[in-house]
Amino acid sequence: MSNYPRPDAATLLEIYKKATFIKQNDERVIKQMMAGKLVTPYYSPRGQEIIPSALSVSLDDDDYVCTIYRGVHDMLAKGFPLGEFWAELAGKATGSCKGKGGPMHLTHPAKGMMVTTGIVGSSMPIATGLGWAAKLDGKGRVSVANFGDGAANIGAFHEALNLAALWKLPVIFICQNNRYAEHTSFADSTLLTHLSARAAAYGMPGVTVDGNDPDAMYGAAKLAIERARAGEGPTLIEALTFRFNGHLIGDAAPYIPKAELEAAKALDPLPILRARLIAEGISTEAALAAIEAAIEAEIDAAVAASLAAPFPDVTELKRDVFAEEIA
């Protein structure tokens, strides 16, 4: 991995900004839920912020991303508008999906956020199809499929990776291995130690990286994206990380041994990257604090707007089922 491209200072700062945005937003969602001001299923991405942040700095707006219920980090890193996000979580008419989709189906094509699915494994075949479209278009676009370690054991994974490899499609398969699938530990789901080993089953390059290390994640993602843009086909990246919260808010995660969770949290990539930015002179305490405050203000505004927004009208049940409205 010494031949990986490395992020420059500006890119590192950009990664930090995205990751911090995700983290602060996540904390606010949980805070609002705890205060009873937001009622929704919510799958926290806390601990996994670096992965999409270090990926997205190499993506363009028109590159495609598909993700899963636990995909808020993937979306925000890709530029999902915060106002539409909060309104959607609140089930409001001003949400990106008019309140019809909710947290598990956030969509925003203008930034390439094409599909969010609540069905484990289903992001992969669809992202493969988007990769096919991108290849037919011939504009060098790529398609990213995000999924978890648990999803790597479902049939759709197998079919999608084989097809993408066979058709040399520009797809980046990102397995965010956060060591748990709901209550099931990684070791109880497969005998493998590294899921990237599965790439060989399709004749596809595969790599395992520390997804919480911005350098490693940036390098692996950039290389895969470049391969894809050059028409060299898909890559499987297993990004090692950890889920700091329960499967969803409300799950206290007693099945995660305390020591394991504490060890993971001790390596929280956010403070580490923050300290590094200052140590390496890329930014200063004051500048970062200003960034963080600006993010907080942006979140304040989005939350306030979501609370004030109207609910969709019940006639919406007749719209968007088909192109034509139902009589």
Binding site: V39, T40, P41, E88, G91, K92, G95, C97, K98, G99, K100, G101, G102, P103, M104, H105, T117, G118, I119, V120, G121, G150, A151, N153, I154, G155, A181, E182, H183, T184, D188, S189, T190, P254, Y255, F311, P312, V314, E316, L317, K318, D320, V321, I326
Partner: protein
């Protein structure tokens, strides 16, 4: 003999699994998170089983619904009685081939040489804002498939009794659990409930409501309201959707002359259509009003709370429909 406990549906199903596993060493449990290391199921329905009966008989699986149902089918042909969990009813689409092309058909296609005594437990229901891929009722797919039995209890007592019968049944049974009523307590007599028999949950002379799962609760609420207005609903809890209790339902509607079939699934092409058309055909000339059907709106389940509420049939709509039938 009959010990009456107060249990909610989670506890009742858990007790039925406990009793069935204790009674027959061939009963197995498998599915995502069903073992105690994984908290005994996301809702705790299988809690304690792996500790009591061992992880050989109660196995948590990877996320592999085709393998889960395939493993259940294979083990059943090998002499066991597996109870498989598919966490939510929408995920039944993933192992659909295993369910409809294999579990349902192996007995017939083998000329009776093999059979598939499995139970597939699954959960669903609107009410928790889980949206388009987590709350559908798709019982109609399975009722339309010869070789499958489909049950959907609305009370803890029926949940216990139907689970015991489903496990002892020699054919595959789809066992549908509703999320919002999981925590409603009720008496549990620990008796088997026969598959294929409906239950008159409330007697009444004016309009028969045919319902299952949570819609029985809504029907009973509607009945309460209407009683004050002098309209007496008879509520028939189907309990088994396939093979459904034609005789029982026909008897009730023959008495009242009016029927409303209610389900939480989308109305169009739902199981209410079968029941309504049998009633219309068999009671030709005897009905006082056309058979009405209520079901969810023709759309995916919406996320937003006001939409989700409008989407699903509820007591008020049942009451309004009954009133309309009475004045028709």
């Amino acid at each position: 003999m009959t010990e009456i406990k107060q249990l909610n549906l989670i506890q009742a199903i858990n007790l039925a699994l406990n009793d069935a596993m204790a009674a027959d060493p061939k009963v197995l449990v498998l599915g995502e998170e069903v073992g105690d290391k994984e908290e005994g199921g996301v809702m705790g329905v299988t809690k304690g089983l792996s500790t009591r009966f061992g992880t050989d008989r109660v196995r948590s699986t990877p996320i592999s619904e085709q393998a889960i149902i395939g493993a259940a089918i294979g083990a059943s042909i090998g002499g066991y009685r597996p109870v498989a969990e598919i966490m939510l009813m929408n995920f039944m689409a993933v192992p659909m081939d295993m369910i409809v092309n294999h579990a349902a058909k192996l007995r017939f296609m083998s000329g009776g040489q093999t059979n598939v005594p499995i139970v597939i437990r699954t959960m669903t229901g609107t009410g928790f804002s889980t949206g388009g891929q987590h709350s559908d009722y798709t019982e109609a797919w399975f009722a339309h498939t010869a070789g499958l039995k489909v049950v959907a209890p609305s009370t803890p007592d029926d949940a216990y009794g139907l689970m015991r019968s489903a496990i002892e049944d020699n054919d595959p049974v789809i066992f549908i659990e509703n999320l919002p009523i999981y925590w409603t307590p009720g008496p549990v007599t620990c008796q088997h409930v026969p598959i294929g028999k409906a239950k008159v949950a409330l007697e009444g002379a004016d309009v028969t409501i045919v319902a299952h799962s949570r819609m029985v609760v809504e029907a009973l609420a509607a009945a309460k309201t209407l009683a004050k207005e002098g309209i007496a609903l008879e509520v028939v809890d189907l309990r088994t959707i396939s093979p459904w209790d034609r005789a029982g339902v026909l008897a009730s509607v023959a008495k009242t002359g009016r029927a409303i079939v209610v389900h939480e699934a989308v109305k169009q092409f739902g199981i209410g259509a079968e029941i309504a058309s049998v009633l219309s055909e068999e009671l030709w000339g005897q009905l006082k009003a056309p058979v009405r059907r209520l079901g969810a709106a023709f759309s995916p389940v919406p996320f937003s709370k006001p939409l989700e509420t409008a989407y699903t049939p509820a007591a008020a709509e049942i009451a309004a429909t009954a009133r309309a039938l009475m004045s028709a």
